[in-house]
């Protein structure tokens, strides 16, 4: 029930908050509206002024809504620039056509099958290119779309019928009921859409939907928060392709004949427009976008040669006057209810308390399981005192040695600082520890395990979290959603669990939000939970980023210049927080230039210059080390 409510709330029909009297209407608002929508849909074909033509138009709205929804996953949720989505649609249609006309497999059996094959195809073609950025991915998707279309035209193995396409495709048969009239197709399609929308809304409000959004907002930060970016991108393509494949099946069975002319680049760009017109990441928006794109040219059909002129104009005007789309997804202000998570404690304090971590979790694990993550067995002799050790780590970029044979020891429960001139290679070393770069040589041991060269999202699930030199948040998500990326790496529920709301999934979701609530409260940002991260002042963004890292329940927290941009007073507040974290059981590793901070709280300081260690020791020894003074500290004038 939660989700329906949230949608209603977004469109301004939600339950009244506060102490307004509970009426029958307010109590059953969700169901009533759903029933009304259903009734309107059911009644539509029987309205007196609705001819078969308008029913067919509604059918095509349905097909495009499905396509819009499927592209919305890729483009809207994950932000991948896909201008070749028609390829998957085409695959679905052709699989249906070929298998139905040659092997006479019933259309209804082909519905899931074409989805499956389209999904498999998407996996095959996108996995080698999924790492490409923005416009480069865009041209690749265009290329895939064109390759598919041209292959269909060129009729390999006499399968696709060449430019003529394939005819004689049958209609779906539902347990003896043959679907062939316009009205039947209308209902058939819209019932399928209903089911898919239900699943998509559930996905949108699960860790999977959130992970997609994290990637869209900032892929590097998402990876560093424990999201397996590559897999989630692929999942989006695969799911999107599956739905597009279904749309292809429906289209082919309605048209009875298909040809490559239906799967051109223009179709792909129309789908792109549907998603943008509706609003990125908005499910009702995608459906509305389909309505506009299909109905608009119909209304203007009598203007014949001018109708596309108007259509082009309309697209521009829409983007000028409603740049966010017609029905954008609103995130802020919907409160925790907007997350669509069930079984939360009624009041804030209980929720925050629920998220308080078990102190055992924060102890470096000698056992093999940490919060649901099965760790690989210990492979290097485990030193109880040393949490992290780098042995002779070296990284070369071309001819340049950024980090040279560096040994760093981080002791459990202590604050270790890494200082050194700008460009010395400190951040590069951090990037190797957290898995963004792979060392040229050397080894990194953490908790007695060799973590050299593992992916960032794996490393974070072992217990190393980080913040960035230039704050990297998920700007258009709320603060609580930002922090909910932290526990993501420990959760296990998959797509199916998210759609079905399994018991384990519901429990996991509740734990995620509770953990996030606890950390948000810890850094003093609870009152900002429903604000978008980008609207926070700079200093608060720093704290938000630290809270996000803490929410991953790390053993080691790596902070890259946490006091940068803070004045002396603010730095002091930060020091208080950092020291309290150590008391809580975290181990800290800092890069810092502010000597007040470094000397004030560090237990151990290592100094790096030109990729090499030039000194290490207790803060006061380092501070008076002549070599460090020469290379880094300098002599104060005043």
């Amino acid at each position: 029930m939660g989700i329906t409510d949230n949608i209603l709330k977004r469109i301004g029909l939600g339950k009244p908050s506060g102490d307004q009297p509970v009426t029958f209407w307010s109590k059953n608002r969700g169901w009533l509206l759903l029933a009304i929508t259903g009734a309107v849909f059911a009644a539509y074909p029987f309205l007196p002024f609705i001819s078969d033509y308008w029913i067919d138009v509604a059918f095509f709205v349905g097909v495009y809504a499905l396509l819009g929804l499927s592209l919305n996953i890729v483009l809207g949720e994950v932000g991948l620039f896909d201008l070749g989505h028609t390829a998957f649609y085409a695959i679905g249609a052709y699989v249906t056509a070929i298998l139905n006309t040659t092997l006479h497999i019933p259309i209804i059996v082909l519905l899931p099958l074409s989805a499956l094959i389209a999904a498999g195809f998407a996996y095959l073609v996108t996995s080698p290119v999924i790492h490409l950025k923005g416009d480069y991915l865009c041209i690749v998707t265009i290329g895939i779309g064109e390759i598919v279309r041209l292959t269909m035209i060129n009729n390999p193995f006499n399968l696709t019928g060449g430019p003529n396409g394939i005819n004689g495709i049958g209609g779906p048969n539902l347990f003896g009921l043959a679907i062939n009239s316009s009205t039947q197709f209308y209902f058939y399609t819209w019932i399928i859409i209903g089911v898919i929308v239900f699943g998509l809304i559930r996905l949108q409000h699960s860790r999977i939907g959130r992970a997609w959004n994290y990637i869209r907002e900032d892929a590097t930060a998402a990876e560093a928060s424990g999201v397996d970016v590559r897999s989630y991108k692929l999942l989006a393509f695969v799911l999107g392709a599956a739905i597009a494949g279904m749309a292809g099946n429906i289209y082919a069975s309605k048209q009875m004949s298909i040809s490559p002319g239906s799967f051109t680049f223009i179709e792909s760009s129309l789908l792109f427009c549907i998603v943008l017109l509706g609003g990125l990441g908005s499910i009702p928006g995608s459906i509305l976008g389909a309505v506009v794109v299909v109905v608009f040219p119909e209304v203007f059909r009598q203007f014949a040669s001018y109708r596309l002129l108007f259509f082009g104009l309309a697209l521009m005007l829409m983007m000028i006057f409603r740049p966010g789309g017609m029905w954008p997804r609103k995130r802020e202000g919907t409160g925790l209810d907007g997350l669509g998570i069930r079984g939360l404690p009624r009041n804030d304090e209980d929720l925050i308390l629920l998220g308080k971590p078990d102190p055992a979790i924060l102890k470096p694990a000698t056992t093999a399981v940490v919060r649901g993550v099965r760790l690989p067995p210990v492979t290097v002799p485990m030193d109880e005192e040393m949490l992290l050790q780098t042995h002779g780590v070296t990284l070369k970029f071309g001819g340049l040695t950024a980090v040279n044979n560096f040994d760093l020891n981080v002791r459990t429960g202590k604050i270790t600082s890494l200082i050194g001139p700008n460009g010395a290679g400190k951040t590069t070393l951090f990037n190797m520890i957290t898995g963004i770069y792979k060392p040229t040589s050397g080894q990194i041991d953490f908790l007695g395990r060799d973590i050299t060269g593992l992916k960032p999202h794996t490393i974070i699930s072992y217990g190393i979290a980080r913040t960035f030199q230039n704050i990297r948040l998920f700007p258009s998500l709320t603060c609580i959603e930002n922090i909910m990326s932290g526990p993501h790496c420990h959760a296990r529920s998959g797509t199916w669990a998210a759609v079905m709301h399994t018991v384990a999934e519901v429990r996991e979701e509740r734990d995620i939000v509770a953990t996030a609530a606890y950390r948000l409260d810890e850094v003093g940002l609870w009152s900002y939970r429903n604000e978008l991260a980008k609207n926070l002042p700079y200093g608060k963004q720093r704290y938000l980023e630290i809270a996000r890292a803490l929410a991953t329940a790390p053993h080691l927290l790596i902070l890259d210049e946490p006091s940068s941009g803070l004045n002396d007073k603010e730095s002091e507040d930060l020091m208080v927080l950092l020291q309290s974290l150590v008391k809580e059981g975290f181990t800290l590793l800092l890069i810092e230039h502010d000597m007040q901070v470094v000397m004030g709280i560090s237990d151990w300081v290592a100094v790096m210059d030109m990729g090499q260690k030039i000194a290490e020791g207790l803060p006061k020894d380092v501070y008076n080390n002549q070599r460090v003074i020469e290379a880094y500290l300098g002599k104060e004038d005043d």
């Binding site: 080698p128 480069y136 060129n154």
Partner: protein, 303 residues
């Protein structure tokens, strides 16, 4: 071997059209981070402008200024006309959408493209038009044993001169540095005393205007022009731009020429029907190997 060289010249000619259109793409993208999907249609419009000038004056320009003079005037006409159209387009379709972000701009650009295409159809009709034979120079001669037309040579010369000129302006002059600075960081560029509006004006005038010239040359060379020819060229030029590394001027040139050569050689030796499949396949392979195109920067993102 002679065939190979012929295909080479064919490839260079078509490639130089791609390169000129790609150059405009790349310039606009470099500064505005905008994929101007309407760019191909401006190219088509350029073709029509040149055609109209040569037809409307019933070859008056050709009669008075000779074949080459007529061609030059038509090119200048299209150059200025499309330059103006580019600037107008930026004002009307893009400037109001900048705050909405890149994806909205793509939709606006697609809308502009549909609008332009159907606008051309509304004005000049759906029928393809042909540049009249009387206005096209067609002297044939043999160059190093290969049969070429003087028009082909002139087109190659003009294209390469234009490309070199643009490369020089952008890479070697102070104004070029100002353009590149604007592309990187607009407000800091303003702090340097760079008038960003002038840079944008310049980019949106020159980029499309190059396409306009290419449009006229294309019309002269192939004679046939149609209202929907912009799509094909736009897509190919975009491919070329990406192949070379988007936003990179020499990259666009190399991408365009390479694309022309690949098409020509593949169609000539293997199959015309599978040509575009091959081209896109190569593009994808290149991108897997070099994720930011052939000349794209290989800098890792700083974190």
């Amino acid at each position: 071997m002679a065939t190979f060289f012929e295909q080479l010249i064919n490839g260079l000619t078509i490639g130089s059209f791609y390169a000129l259109v790609a150059l405009g793409y790349s310039m606009v993208f470099g500064v505005m981070k905008l994929i101007n999907f309407a760019h191909g249609d401006l190219f088509a419009l350029g073709s029509y402008l040149g055609y109209t000038l040569l037809i409307a004056s019933s070859s008056w320009v050709t009669v008075h200024f000779g074949l080459w003079g007529g061609m030059a005037i038509a090119m200048l006409f299209a150059f200025s006309g499309i330059g103006l159209a580019g600037v107008l387009m930026e004002r009307v379709a893009y400037r109001p959408v900048y705050p909405a972000g890149r994806l909205s701009l793509v939709v606006s650009a697609l809308g502009m493209s549909i609008f332009l295409q159907n606008g051309i159809m509304a004005i000049w009709g759906a029928r393809p038009q042909a540049y009249p034979a009387a206005v096209v120079p067609s002297t044939r001669f043999s160059l190093l044993g290969l049969p070429v037309t003087s028009l082909q040579v002139v087109i190659l010369l003009i294209s390469f001169t234009l490309m070199l000129a643009i490369w020089f302006i952008v890479e070697k002059t102070t104004f070029g540095a100002a353009i590149r600075a604007t592309a990187l960081d607009r407000s800091t560029a303003t702090l340097m005393g760079i008038d960003v509006r002038v840079v944008i004006f310049f980019i949106f005038a020159l980029g499309p205007a190059l396409g306009g010239i290419a449009g006229v040359m294309n019309g002269m060379y192939y004679r046939a022009i149609s209202f929907n020819m912009g799509w094909t060229y736009g897509l190919k030029a975009f491919t070329a731009t990406i192949l070379g590394g988007i936003g990179n001027i020499p990259g666009a040139m190399i991408g365009g020429l390479l694309l022309g050569l690949m098409e020509s050689l593949f169609a000539g030796y293997v199959s015309g029907a599978w040509k575009d499949v091959f081209v896109f396949f190569i593009l994808i392979v290149v991108l897997i190997w070099r994720p930011t195109g052939l000349l794209g920067e290989k800098t890792a993102e700083k974190v």
